[in-house]
Subunit: 386 residues, 2 copies
Amino acid sequence: MNNFTFKIPTDIRFGKGQVECLPEELAKYGKKVLLTYGGGSIKRTGLYDTIIRLLEGFDVYELGGIEPNPKLTSVEIGAKMCKGKNIDVILAVGGGSTIDASKHISCAACYDGPAWDLMMDRSLIKEALPIAVVLTICATGSEMNSGAVITNEDTNEKLEINSPLLYPSLSICDPTYLYTLPPKQTAAGTVDILSHCMEQYFQHNDEAYITDAISEAVMKTVVKYGPIAMEEPDNYEARSNLMWASTVGLNHMLTVGKGGAWSVHPIEHVVSAFYDITHGVGLSIITPAWMKLALSEETKGRFARFAREVFGVCEDDDMIAAQMGIQKLEEFNTGIGMPLHLSEVDIDDTCFEKMASEAIRTSGLSERAYVKMSEQDVMKIFVLCK
Amino acid sequence: MNNFTFKIPTDIRFGKGQVECLPEELAKYGKKVLLTYGGGSIKRTGLYDTIIRLLEGFDVYELGGIEPNPKLTSVEIGAKMCKGKNIDVILAVGGGSTIDASKHISCAACYDGPAWDLMMDRSLIKEALPIAVVLTICATGSEMNSGAVITNEDTNEKLEINSPLLYPSLSICDPTYLYTLPPKQTAAGTVDILSHCMEQYFQHNDEAYITDAISEAVMKTVVKYGPIAMEEPDNYEARSNLMWASTVGLNHMLTVGKGGAWSVHPIEHVVSAFYDITHGVGLSIITPAWMKLALSEETKGRFARFAREVFGVCEDDDMIAAQMGIQKLEEFNTGIGMPLHLSEVDIDDTCFEKMASEAIRTSGLSERAYVKMSEQDVMKIFVLCK
């Protein structure tokens, strides 16, 4: 088991009605709040009104319209607002995109210079505003980790910023907010959670048995409850298990003692930077193709274990079990309405080469990934899921 | 899934050589250190010398000799030393007993009155000194939680004190420190970890599937590596998996969304308060007996799930599977040299009635436990494991 440190300062309030703690908790940071949110679904669901009622007595400034695959432009606008209004705390109401943009805003607000500098050189992050989260989509785990993925629309780069200063101070996770999610978002979130677990699980280190076993527990949870949430959007048991799975899936628990670079996310990030598709949709397409390319005599043991533990595959031969696991994952993805081919989201081979080159350039794929890959390998993955 | 909050401020440094961070980390709290430890094994292993070397430049005061089942007397001595010497930080080097005593000391040092007051009324805990831990026995999970169990030798009470102020600030968990543990302590610790998982797992709430699945992952880890650690004391993979299992086993991860009172620990606490036996030894004896009494048509489903998931029992009938699970646990305990009968630790029926009465009085057994029990039921458990 590799050495590790584990320290998560985020205060999680999980369950029905937890939002009521907002006034008391926010008051600890000050009076001036920057309220960030996305496309306005929180206005349709009534959550916006609830928040505004709870924030009576605070000075609330708003930054709505944060896009999926949040853009640097939004970050810059937010940082400028924080500086201009002397904001005390950022309240992010939304999913991973809103939270990620808020994280980048929180440190850019304390930095004299372009926000993208902090992406290029993390050592420049010396300070950040506190962030409170009200989670409305479960997928990215951003509510309890220190990373944020931002797209620079000028350079087509989609990169991760990360610093211990970027942990949300408070995250309110109320599964009932998921009841009104469009099915496609529920499905995309489900695929994203599973992918986070898989990225951490498919690594060479076999000694961190406990971490792998916990990962299997979280993946089993996603496989069990994803389809139920699709069938019954207001099933509290399904929503709450998925919501906590998304948090545990990327709060460091599933990587302790392991490590190594991720494989599928860097490839998907490039695709969604080029084509602005939903992250979970891209993962649904690329993951099985990556598995097919990564499966070998050397890796079949872990792939077989995945198949058996997560999908209950009963098959003694490792290679056959591994292949069955890939098929099960494809069935799982299509079962919740997710695609398996780039053509289904109108992506043709025009940019395959450019995207493959960019995926290698911006990641540890060729050097530290579970199965090291070249540009040609990434091209093969694109062709496999054409 | 029940509502919950989750916030753990402890900074975990896990792995070989992590102790080297001590000077830098302790310096954050000040210069005056109270070094607490137990019977002196750290002097035999050389860890004491390492610590003293690392603490060069600090003012170090020592409180050694903290007993297993730590006593209020030790707490009072420690609190007096902290007050008299204006201690800045407590450095607990040891296992659960040393850490627990240090936790009680840390708040008693900031309280004008008898330390036991804080046990009787937690609202009196307003402040506590920071605690750093160097873990040398894995069992209690005290390195990453806010509880401490202390014995009042005047009243024969063994009770838990708990406050968010009692989380260690830093815990150094180096699995190589476990290499020199006497086999009996390795075995007792293993039983203790498994029991913590079981106390949280055997509850009525079935909706927190993810928490139960993670619990099964931790229990499988203990069952896999406990015997290996007994056979090969310096097996790093076994020691590291067990060490992290002990931390995760009682850092709140396995209880989120569930809840309910514990069953076996309160009974064992009374036994070890009366007879001063090793906690894990008491748990090894009482747990299977408790299972036999708690197993019923109503509970057989969960007992069967435990048997299948943790011990790999293959049996379709729930009642038979459940009984096989109990037998597997007995075999596991005896397999690592732990007893199943009170007579093996020289306890006869003299105090059965008094202990049963005390177990009910000091716990939620009769009102909030998985299977509610009366004094007569606890007596039956004692008779079952006579």
